[in-house]
Symmetry: C2
Subunit: 260 residues, 2 copies
Amino acid sequence: MTTNFPTYRLTATSLLTPADVARIQALGEPPQRIARYGVIRSEGSSDRSVYFLLEGWVAASMLLWDGERQIVKLHLPGDMLGSTSMCFDSAVDTVTALTPAVVSRIPLERIGALMMTSPAIAVTMLLAAQEERTVLMDRLAAVGRASALARVAALLIELSDRLHRIGHGDDDGFDLALTQEQIGDLLALTPVHVNRMLRQLQELGLVARRGRRVRLIDPSALRRLAAVRPRTVSTDVSWLGRDMQPVAIPPVNGDGPLRR
Amino acid sequence: MTTNFPTYRLTATSLLTPADVARIQALGEPPQRIARYGVIRSEGSSDRSVYFLLEGWVAASMLLWDGERQIVKLHLPGDMLGSTSMCFDSAVDTVTALTPAVVSRIPLERIGALMMTSPAIAVTMLLAAQEERTVLMDRLAAVGRASALARVAALLIELSDRLHRIGHGDDDGFDLALTQEQIGDLLALTPVHVNRMLRQLQELGLVARRGRRVRLIDPSALRRLAAVRPRTVSTDVSWLGRDMQPVAIPPVNGDGPLRR
DNA sequence: CGAGCTGTTGATCTGCATCAAGGTCTGTGG
DNA sequence: CCACAGACCTTGATGCAGATCAACAGCTCG
């Protein structure tokens, strides 16, 4: 039954009604535990589903010709995993738990059927996909043009922001659940160089680390160094023509919002 | 009134009915000519619309802190421009014509209203967005990990494929409407190095160039060098709860390549 | 208590950037 | 028809950020 995953991603815009949110929550199968480094779905797999991440950190990565890998997306609790693959017959990325994690599987047909009955839900997913595309564009620009130091700084800021937004991490910083090698896979750097950059940020007095714990001492200087542009998603959905109200429902025997 | 733009992007899956396609075509304003290097929409602009590209090559780019720019997406005729920005109040990328181009503007409210009445259209856009996300993931992996030579090879292959798919380019190659500087902006290389890489591909006997004209002499070797994985979008939309229509061949009576 | 991750540090190498100087082509105005 | 300017391409010389190679130290967990 309803798995109570974090819904802040769904309610960011006021597009969905509580009923919509409930319908989405009802889609998921019972939560399932994944061990650290457990593979949730492998590149090339024909498993046609998406997953909601309830707990833990997860990476979506692509294997490269020479055995290297590029992490293309870091997922935190509340994120939907694996949705990129829905337009392909086999998965485009490998989804791996970086920490012990809890996910809830959603078979693609279920979410498909739901989207086809509720435009608001389809549009919400579209907006989320566009937002992720922007994240990727920013990362592409960073990997292509920014110095290693700036990239590492940008990552720390991004993580701090995202973690605080979902209530992990306190005033005293956050727990960085990534090895330096994984940071390298994400930013296209070698683990050795990641180490030096972290160390340099420390020497510059911008961050403090103790074990996994990271604290941003001077966030604004860090932000300046990272040269990231702040992005805030729009909450204005008036262009969707609807002051977000319940999609008139009964899909039961009618045809809902027409087709054909 | 109806601008007759290329629709192959819309009909790739059999999700949309001809009526749907017609409704989309009816959205666009009269086509408008853009000069080479004309800016269709700038980063930060609050122009809330998307554009259909009818003719010409267009780049979506982001300006970087130091004045450099990263081209994040190359658009060819039939593509929809600027859709990433729909979840932000101001445009995230600058959309510039690389050749003289023709576009048709679509105010966001119009496409919004249409999506809210037709889930099939919303889902089609979602699938397109996911596909583009994959393209970005591939590019990220390339820029992060592949050698300059491989990146250039990959670009030539991508362009050849895309151009042939839309009927530009013949057996004798295609016209490369990019300066070497623009290729650099796309692949995160300096123009000087792009030049050397193109030259090296020539010396290796993999491609031939005369002016803007490019011909891939040994596409398979090029593909091997580029280490790109072929991606073919799924045409199976049965997960959307709708029987996929052009079932090519009804399996005689038995099994055939069964589905479900 | 030993094995394997993970992090740290130094020495060296290299792919691509940077700097610099022409060369070629195209369009434009005289 | 010519001259000239600006955009684009080409090629060489040199520099440097980050990769690679190599050790070792600390931690964790069987």
